[in-house]
């Protein structure tokens, strides 16, 4: 709609700010077709995006801005995208790194068996182990978020069992999940993650508030501040103070706040749903480092991501879903983008390879 409106102006210069953020892949293709047409008619287009692949495809020149300054302008044809990224970050990014396989015996922390829901999920089974990041790959609508919502008690499963360290558990509500130390970072942090009109300190300590309360039910403010400050420092959340309204922070810092909330709760199982969506490249790297640290500290991590390079880089094992079923579970060493895509598109093939 917005795009159609902009086009109707018949402008000489068109500025597009993250035009594909709300678009599906096929809609993006249509947009790219339109842009090519406009270019041919002589319209100048400023195309703002953090999606590298897009820039590589449609930009003639790429200008990198960082901290309000213009860093460089490069000819796309003569530039490696990795170069652009390192200019954006201001430091070199490691190449196609793969995670080191976690050492020793990894105990199973959470096991899901035959989870089905009324809507989408059919017989979903998998394990999360201590110190392990399990990537959940699949196309939009494959049911990954639905699995996460069942694990964190936001939605009820119709059938299936969940075991925590071998014990069967009932997760009827997010309060149950929190008691069992399962934390969920939603893909939609503004709707399901944050109290946008409350301050940073409140948000960071929301889930763990009961641990800063005295016998009278009064909150020990100094402890709250101390705890909040600890996590703000540890996660390097950029905020002028703990009293800053959360809505005033950038997406990356907001995401860190949701993460801090669950760290403050000291969760054993952390579910990240698209943890780096809408976040700038530098903060992305920080989130990756955090995920690795958390895994190293023995947390069991479920990471849903639609970006295959991210999954390959981070996940020790990869669960691939398609149309509500698990179609494949891969060790990182056996996985590449093509294999994952193959499993992710196995609609109708309901073998459930394990």
């Amino acid at each position: 709609m917005e795009i159609a409106k902009a086009l109707s102006f018949d402008a000489r210069v068109l500025i597009m700010d993250e035009p594909t953020a709300a678009l599906t892949e096929s809609e993006t293709e249509v947009l790219f077709g339109l842009i090519a047409g406009l270019k041919a008619r002589g319209t100048g287009i400023v195309y703002i995006s953090h999606r590298m692949e897009e820039l590589g495809r449609i930009a003639d020149r790429i200008t990198v801005l960082r901290d309000g300054r213009c860093i460089a302008t490069l000819e796309t044809a003569e530039t490696e995208l990795r170069e652009v990224i390192s200019l954006m970050v201001g430091r070199r990014i490691e190449g196609e790194a793969r995670p080191r396989p976690p050492s020793g015996d990894r105990r199973v922390v959470l096991r899901a068996e035959g989870i089905s829901t009324k809507g989408l999920l059919r017989d979903v089974s998998f394990e999360l182990r201590e110190g392990e990041i399990v990537g959940f790959a699949g196309l939009m609508g494959a049911g990954r978020t639905e699995v996460a919502r069942v694990l964190c008690g936001a939605d009820r499963a119709e059938s299936g069992r969940i075991y925590l360290r071998g014990e069967p558990v009932e997760i009827r509500s997010p309060a149950d999940a929190a008691r069992l130390r399962i934390g969920y970072l939603s893909e939609d942090r503004k709707r399901y993650g944050l109290l946008l009109d409350q301050d940073v300190g409140f948000n960071v300590t929301l889930s763990s508030l009961t641990s800063y309360v005295n016998a009278l039910g009064l909150v020990r403010d100094s402890q709250v501040r101390e705890a909040a400050q600890t996590y703000v420092d540890a996660l390097r959340i950029k905020t002028p103070s703990l009293r800053q309204r959360t809505s005033n922070l950038s997406g990356g810092n907001q995401q860190k706040i949701v993460l801090a909330k669950w760290l403050a709760k000291d969760c054993d199982v952390l579910i990240f749903d698209e943890p780096t969506r809408g976040i700038d490249v530098g903060t992305k790297e920080e989130i990756y480092a955090l995920l690795n640290d958390l895994a190293a500290a023995g947390k069991a991590i479920m990471m849903i991501s639609s970006e295959l390079p991210e999954v390959l880089r981070m996940a020790h094992r990869i669960v691939v879903m398609c149309e509500g079923r698990v179609t494949g579970v891969l060790d990182n060493a056996d996985a590449d983008q093509e294999t994952i895509m193959e499993y992710a598109t196995r609609a109708g093939d309901h073998g459930g390879i394990r």
Partner: protein
């Protein structure tokens, strides 16, 4: 697309917005300033206004609305509304009369029973809202009608007098602190209590959390239904206390009184800067709001302005109060 733009715009504004206490409390400061201005105006307009007896008179007439408004503040901060506090108060006073007069319970037990009955109505509201998921407006509207009807049925539509209950009227009329009627003392004590609960207790924090983003609060592992029930029950307890205080002041339970009190309580809350959208508000603001209304009614009466005009003025005050709040938000957003 718009989301990204909005975020970057806010980031740019960030240093300017890291403002302090004053900006945060501006609505209360404004409300307090308005109270002072209104009082200054009436003291100039009439020599009878700024006298001790008139001031205690204002406080006394504010007490019942004020107590109702305290509980209503909690409910409104969660993003809900409680329309049942007016007639709920009436039913609580009728029940208090039933316990003390008809059934002859001892004074403390009867009073506690009246308050507990108010809490029970609040509990039912909370259950209907949190568990049955009936919208607060509808759930408490229904309770308002039920309480209104029951008060008339139980009392047989006639006032019940407390003449044979020694010590009852002293609950409002006595003076534990010389020169201050107990009703006013109760209002002050409850205000302090409510302020501590709202700003310091875990209940208060969850009240704000619910109003800010209920679903995010739920996903954060907080038992949203339980806390909603607690909050509506608390509002009900305040309703019960208001019922007892009103009955003691009138030396009777008046079954036909009470309708409309809920709107005055909501008005006090709104004038005090609490947002009907939830997530924002304060007890101090609410009390100032209640006092502004009390002062206006009293001052206009002293100036011999007919009663019909008094409600017109209060209506205008509500519009002005809410509009200044909107202006303030816009100033902050831009």
């Amino acid at each position: 697309m718009t989301e990204t733009k909005a975020v970057s715009a806010q980031e740019r504004a960030l240093p300017r917005l890291s403002g302090g206490l004053l900006r945060r409390q501006l609505q209360q400061v404004l409300a307090f300033a308005s109270l002072i201005v209104v009082m200054a105006f009436f003291s100039l307009a009439s020599p009878n206004f700024l006298t001790w007896s008139n001031i205690t008179g204002i406080l006394l007439s504010t007490a019942v609305i004020g107590i109702l408004a305290l509980g209503t503040t909690f409910v409104i901060i969660t993003g809900g509304i409680d329309l049942s506090v007016g007639t709920g108060m009436t039913l609580a006073s009728v029940m208090t009369a039933t316990f003390l007069v008809t059934w002859g319970w001892p004074l403390t037990l009867g009073v506690a029973g009246g308050i507990a009955f108010g809490a029970l109505m609040g509990f039912v509201n909370g259950f209907n809202v949190a568990v049955l998921r009936i919208p607060p407006f509808i759930a408490t509207l229904a309770m308002m009608l039920i309480a209104q009807g029951l008060a008339l049925v139980i009392s047989g539509t006639a006032p019940i007098y407390f003449n044979d209950v020694p010590g009852f009227t002293a609950i409002s009329g006595g003076s534990l602190v010389p020169g201050v009627p107990n009703a006013v003392l109760i209002l002050f004590v409850l205000t302090a209590l409510a302020a501590v609960v709202l700003s310091k207790s875990i209940l208060g924090r969850y009240t704000f959390a619910l109003g800010s983003n209920e679903e995010a609060t739920r996903i954060s592992g907080i038992d949203v239904a339980k806390w909603k029930i607690v909050i509506y029950t608390l509002a009900g307890a305040f309703t019960g206390i208001a019922g007892v205080v009103l009955a003691a002041r009138l030396n009777s339970a008046q079954p036909a009184l009470g309708l409309g009190y809920e709107l005055q309580a909501i008005a006090a809350v709104v004038i005090g800067g609490t947002s009907l959208q939830g997530g924002k508000g304060s007890i101090v603001g609410t009390i100032i709001g209640a006092l502004i209304m009390g002062v206006l009614v009293n001052g206009l009466r002293i100036m011999s302005i007919p009663q019909e005009w008094q409600t017109v003025v209060i209506g205008i005050v509500i519009l002005v109060a809410v509009y200044t709040d909107i202006l303030r938000r816009q100033a902050r957003a831009s």
